[in-house]
Symmetry: C2
Subunit: 579 residues, 2 copies
């Protein structure tokens, strides 16, 4: 492709809207343009990279035996009501009321539709196992779209769904997808960390996320240097702590005028936050529940949803707080609460004891209780692991301290079990004639994120360093002076020669100063750069430079194709497509 | 692919919901399943065919120099308000109100978005010409989704948009797309008729549709056997007729109790419909207009929109009819109307005269006027070509009688001019520094319809006859008795051999009776069928049958690959992908 015949609107300045390296680079290198909040147009270079990522995903899904299908984006909301997820997704789902008055969901994922497909078309164990996949557009009405295509309202996802006769079958299907994911990301030049993850809105028992470490990632990866265990922070189990025994002191009520936050009360009473009980009122599918965590901890929404067995867990309104506690926001405490579920995190109270002589709200304006003791002054309905882990927490496997790094999720695999097949009637007859629900797994890849994560992981101050397999083009041919007839003619010959050899060549045939062209070359980041012109032309050489290296080297004109082929082999981002 | 490892749920019975051959075949052969009204899931075989059609479209677009991009589905409604099309599309567009309260349109087409992209990124004539295209999902909330994927609410479209500096450039870009369309459809095994078409909701001056003739098509193709001219019925110009001169008789009012339709009044008064003036009240962008057509003619909505210069032309409510005419529905006539635009079709009144001594409504219940004459009893505000052509109408080019056939539209190309670029600010600076609006064209292909139209055009009583280039697989290998170890082993060898030779083979490895397998083979319609087993195995032959022929012929085992390669060359549906 000639540069002058395609459309690469590179930018000289960093766009103000870009918060991350990948977003900035995608805009500056002319891969992407924003249409509206969370929606983007892929321009020719961006689309080529995305399309290559799609091709890798497709090849590996096919190799793993998954069957490609294409399901509608518009989904009847009734299917989501049948699965119980319409409420759980809430405003995250885009809804369309059609001219007949029916509500359709713009699929944020396709468990319901694919399970209904199996319900309608699979009746016998002889039709199992089967894994369907599709590559298509998904929609989520994000509260805060950000980071370009990483958190957008409209994105391209590969979603796969496996149906097996039994849990052993699911295990095999899950492993096949897991292995395919490892191959896909490796081919795209990525080195993700694979972590245990929460199953969230999707559900099921077991799940793994594929995370690419990046400083601006939205997820926190918890990793143990001791045993190698890794988990998403929201999944990481927090073992009950040891409590120092202490004689209980008499309960006191103290005035804390204007002090309502942990920080304010801690400063006012000179009590460390770890001695305080943070009392939070939630609603779980509409019913109120009081959650207690230590003053220096945060509640973990994923754990709350699991412990409270609720699809929709939200912080309660101030009105509900008053109804539940009798007091205002900022002064809640567990003492004296009646008729409400009180769930304490293990760091507040649990199998190994409780915070002795703690401080908490008195359910009265500008008032706290001091020397509060569980059992005497309040009693939990239940205790559980409810908090977000913090750096230094012990590894749940080996006890060594956990460290966090940031990452972006590019893939997620789930063992769903029979959650959807039971609700949507995806049953089959086994060899003995019994009707059983299919055992399901589901498997997602954010295809846009493959591209974005590759840029996060592979760039320098001058621009992108594409992994070879998803680079928009493999070779950039830069003609140094297009006004020079010999340069033009020789460039044309070389362009034709390399293209005929099956290489994907972008030829910068613009009549611009070399400095501008080299700057764009670094920004756009095509792996192999050939420079033709000047002294090289006199000597019969062309300069070959890898985007990953500083130096370039002259290659005799006759050897250029061979040199490019050799450089292509050693360049990061494997090309292996063979079975 | 082994039949037992993929998912081909063929049906024995014709599904009741299917009205057309392609819809019936897509369901029966297990290509497609309905999710809800106008939305379908493509199953593995259907997806493979669709994907091949997509690949052909992509290759030819690339060859024509168009640049692939990917634009969002969610589009801000403000762009549609700027172009003036929000009202024109009306309920045909799906709308999503997002969590911020903003309205988004689910793109039914992308003129607004792509023009805005050019507005944002193209400033100079040096960046022109450029043609962008994308292949993606479009949405239309059809009043009556039908015919399976032919008129669905969600469909896959290739849409392209060209931007040129002047009309000559547009002409070249238009021609390049036109030629690419001819190649695409030819490669997919289709022989469309290319007709002049109305530009409808898209706009512009010139357009051509690519129509595949089929008995159940929704469009009527008007074709002249005399000069070869072809047009969509709604586009076909109707020249003014000659009127027999006749002395005007005095106007009379007659009672027509209960007779309000043309048929009833014609019978009651013994007057042929061609002597009657059908008086229709419309609203054009809200303003009433009275339209007069001959009793045996129908008004043409496309011509009405053009003549009335309105985005939205609808039949008026009964209330509006009373306001405009003073009389009830069914008894309207042009005599005595005041303060309203009265537009007569040329067959009622026009440059060549008017219907003499006509019959029309009296704007009074159960009453008509007889011996009405234009000029004396009523006067049109204007006259125009407003009617739908009928069979036998003269060709506007040569005057020979026009005949109609039904067809399905698979592609449509438009010369848009500057309609969108002016409204959305897609201007560029020419060599002299003047700011000019880009001259645009747009070009659509219904990719689903390529598949559906291929089935409409190519099937028999037993099932599908795929054109080779979009067949889900090229070769079907049928093993006659999978219980026979020799059949199994030899089938496996042949399957591996053909697959290794680069052929796309579906191996029917099911342990079923040969009759069932042959029936499915005809239904699924893979072009080349190899049958292995029985006496052939003894003799060392395999039977080769083309889906388009009745007879099969034995081929020595050693020659099978060569025989398949040769048959593939002669099979309909060309494979040419070379530039």
């Amino acid at each position: 492709m000639r540069w002058t015949k395609t459309f690469i609107p590179t930018l000289r300045e960093d766009p103000a809207e870009a918060e991350t390296a990948s977003h900035r680079l995608m805009l500056r290198a002319g891969l992407l343009r924003k249409l509206a909040s969370g929606t983007y147009t892929y321009l020719p270079l961006g689309w080529r990279a995305l399309h290559k990522a799609i091709r890798i995903v497709r090849e590996e899904m096919d190799r793993a035996g998954a069957l490609e299908i294409l399901m509608p984006i518009l989904q009847p909301v009734e299917l989501w009501e049948a699965s119980g997820r319409a409420a759980a997704f809430g405003d995250l789902m885009c809804r369309v009321v059609d001219r007949t008055g029916r509500t359709n969901v713009l699929g944020p994922t396709h468990e319901e539709v694919v399970t209904d497909l199996v319900h309608q078309n699979i009746t016998s164990h002889r039709q199992l196992p089967v894994t369907f996949y599709q590559i298509g557009v998904k929609f989520r009405d994000e509260i805060r779209p950000r980071f370009g295509v990483i958190r957008s309202r409209e994105f391209i996802m590969k979603d796969a769904y496996s149906f097996d006769a039994d849990p052993e079958g699911l295990h095999r299907s899950y492993q096949a997808m897991y292995d395919a994911y490892v191959r896909i990301f490796s081919r795209a030049g990525l080195r993700p960390v694979i972590v245990e993850a929460d199953t969230g809105l999707i559900g099921g028992d077991v799940s793994h996320e594929f995370m690419v470490p990046t400083p601006t990632g939205e997820d926190l990866i918890a990793a143990c240097a001791g045993c190698g265990y890794a988990a998403n922070r929201e999944k990481l189990a927090c073992p009950p702590p040891a409590f120092e025994p202490e004689a209980p002191r008499p309960l006191r009520e103290v005035a804390t005028p204007g002090a309502s936050t942990i920080e304010q009360v801690s400063g006012f009473l000179k009590v460390p936050p770890a001695r305080m009980i943070k009392t939070l009122v939630y609603t779980a599918d509409g019913a109120p529940a009081v959650i207690l965590v230590r003053g220096d901890h945060e509640a973990n929404p994923a754990k709350l949803a699991r412990v409270l067995r609720a699809a929709c867990v939200e912080l309660a309104s101030e009105e509900t707080i008053r109804q539940v506690t009798g007091g205002p926001l900022g002064f809640s405490g567990p003492a004296g609460l009646k008729g409400v579920r009180v769930v304490a995190d293990h760091s507040v109270a649990g199998p190994s004891g409780a915070i002795p002589n703690a401080v908490t709200g008195a359910n009265k304006a500008d008032t706290h209780l001091v020397d509060v003791n569980a059992g005497r002054d309040w009693t939990p309905t239940e205790t559980a692991d409810l908090r977000l882990a913090v750096a230094g927490d012990p590894c749940p496997r080996c006890g060594a301290p956990i460290a966090f790094t940031r990452g972006v999720e590019i893939g997620h695999v789930f063992k769903l079990g029979t959650k959807y097949s039971e609700k949507l009637g995806a049953v089959f007859q086994d060899a003995e004639g019994r009707l059983l629900p299919a055992v399901m797994g589901c498997y997602g890849i954010g295809v846009n994120r493959i591209v974005a994560a590759a840029l996060e992981a592979s760039h320098d101050a001058d621009g992108i360093r594409w992994p070879l397999a998803i680079a928009p083009y493999e070779v950039l041919l830069v003609s140094v002076n297009m006004k020079d007839e010999r340069v033009r003619a020789e460039s044309e010959r070389l362009y034709q020669e390399l293209t005929a050899a099956g290489l994907e060549v972008l030829w910068d045939d613009r009549d611009l100063a070399p400095g501008v062209k080299f700057k764009d070359a670094d920004l756009v980041g095509i792996p192999l750069r050939l420079t033709l012109g000047g002294k090289g032309l006199e000597k019969g050489t062309v300069d070959l430079k890898l985007r990953t290296r500083k130096e370039q080297r002259p290659v005799p004109r006759a050897d250029v194709a061979a040199a490019v082929a050799a450089a292509r082999q050693e360049y990061p981002g494997t090309l292996d497509a063979a079975p």
